[in-house]
């Protein structure tokens, strides 16, 4: 597909993505911060529902039709340090890189500054990457749980999907989602 058709496809998929983020309320800073403070569980529920769906979908695509997967290479230092910075950034920005755009669309004006900061952060990393590369690379490659266990991807994926679904069922019993959203659907109680 050429770049223009690909851009149109991206736009259409993005609209669906943004719609789901807004309706699911996970773009709200109060919902994201509330998850990290264990006050509300909307973000975890939505996140795990997306993971479970992805596991089932990819088990089918890969297991039945051999569609190639794209797991990222294991570089433990980069993932621990980078993941930690990502978590701190989520709390300060009140957003993830994707939900930031949903905040802009929904009308939060401070999110434009988070976007500017994000572009600056990505550019800073681009310039720092040659110096950081020796510290990052040299990991064990594309490790996946199914390969480590020596089992087919679809079997491990469907097992994990079942375990996560049971966990979500228990979580929903303990914390019904409607009560978690709060009266203004922004993760704040009052």
């Amino acid at each position: 597909m050429d770049v223009y058709r690909m851009a149109v496809l991206g736009l259409v998929m993005g609209v669906a993505f943004g719609f789901a983020l807004e309706k699911g309320r996970v773009f709200e800073p109060g919902v994201i911060l509330g998850q990290m403070q264990f006050r509300t569980f909307t973000m975890l529920k939505m996140f795990l529902a997306a993971v479970v769906t992805g596991l089932v979908v990819l088990a089918a695509l890969n297991g039945l039709w051999g569609v190639k997967l794209h797991p990222k290479a294991t570089e433990l230092g980069a993932e621990i340090v980078g993941g930690s910075l990502l978590g701190i950034g989520i709390v300060l920005a009140g957003a993830c890189p994707g939900t930031l755009f949903a905040q802009i669309g929904a009308g939060y004006r401070d999110a434009w500054f988070a976007l500017a900061g994000g572009l600056a952060g990505a550019v800073a990393f681009g310039y720092a990457e040659p110096a950081l590369r020796p510290l990052i690379s040299g990991g064990p490659g594309k490790l996946t749980l199914d390969a480590l266990l020596g089992l087919p991807f679809w079997a491990v994926a469907l097992t994990l999907a079942a375990v996560l679904t049971a966990g979500l069922y228990a979580l929903e019993r303990a914390r019904p989602w409607r009560a978690d959203l709060g009266p203004e659907a922004d993760g704040l109680r009052e």
């Binding site: 050429d2 690909m6 851009a7 991206g10 736009l11 259409v12 993005g14 609209v15 993505f17 943004g18 789901a20 309706k23 699911g24 996970v26 773009f27 709200e28 006050r39 939505m46 996140f47 529902a49 769906t53 992805g54 596991l55 089932v56 979908v57 990819l58 190639k68 794209h70 990222k72 290479a73 980069a78 993941g83 930690s84 978590g87 950034g89 989520i90 709390v91 300060l92 920005a93 890189p97 994707g98 949903a102 669309g105 009308g107 939060y108 004006r109 401070d110 976007l115 994000g118 600056a120 952060g121 990505a122 990393f125 681009g126 310039y127 990457e129 749980l145 994990l160 922004d186 704040l188």
Partner: protein, 191 residues
């Protein structure tokens, strides 16, 4: 179903979670419905784009082109050059722009209006003015994307997509993300 009454903050006072009626006009969907829809987007991502859902590398594509306005040598950097062109990179840029449009449409359909700054910030960190919150958001965005690019993925690429592919790298990144996020959030007031 449209909401006409709003309070001083421009927020509708009615119960946010209405049941039945038109799904597009509803203010909130169950997080499970929303999550399943996002998970299903992996089908066109893998079959048509030959990649997994992700968001953070689009910042390198856009940021690299912006950097090239100021620094003509920016595209000599291998990292910027790798993200500058090609269908997959522009697909992801279009994806994040689409996220903004989709959220805008969704909020419009439900009549949900949002102020300049979410009320959680005044409660959690005592910030009430726009300028200090804008500065915090900029700093947060910087750390967010520096971290995501260092980890080679964000909540979408490592989280939603990486875990669904059983990638060990993503399990480590997501664990670090939640651990540091929880630690940072616990330093703020619980509201």
């Amino acid at each position: 179903m449209s909401q006409t009454r709003t309070d001083a903050h421009g927020l509708a006072p009615t119960c946010p979670v209405r049941q039945g009626g038109d799904a597009l006009r509803r203010r909130a969907w169950s997080p499970y419905a929303a999550g399943i829809l996002i998970g299903l987007l992996q089908v066109p991502a893998f079959l048509l784009v030959n990649t997994a859902l992700g968001a953070s590398s689009s910042f390198v594509t856009l940021g690299g082109h912006i950097a090239a306005w100021f620094d003509p040598g920016a595209m000599d950097t291998a990292y910027f050059a790798a993200h500058a062109a090609g269908a997959k990179n522009w697909w992801q840029v279009a994806l994040v722009i689409g996220i903004g449009i989709g959220a805008f449409a969704s909020a419009r359909f439900s009549g949900t209006r949002r102020g300049a700054v979410a009320p959680v910030w005044r409660r959690a960190v005592g910030i009430s003015g726009f300028a200090p919150r804008a500065a915090m958001a900029f700093a947060g965005g910087f750390v967010l994307l520096f971290g995501a690019r260092l980890a080679n993925g964000c909540t979408s690429g490592h989280g939603v997509s990486g875990l669904a592919q059983l990638a060990v790298s993503s399990m480590v990144a997501v664990a670090a993300m939640f651990a540091a996020g929880i630690a940072a959030a616990m330093l703020m007031r619980r509201v």
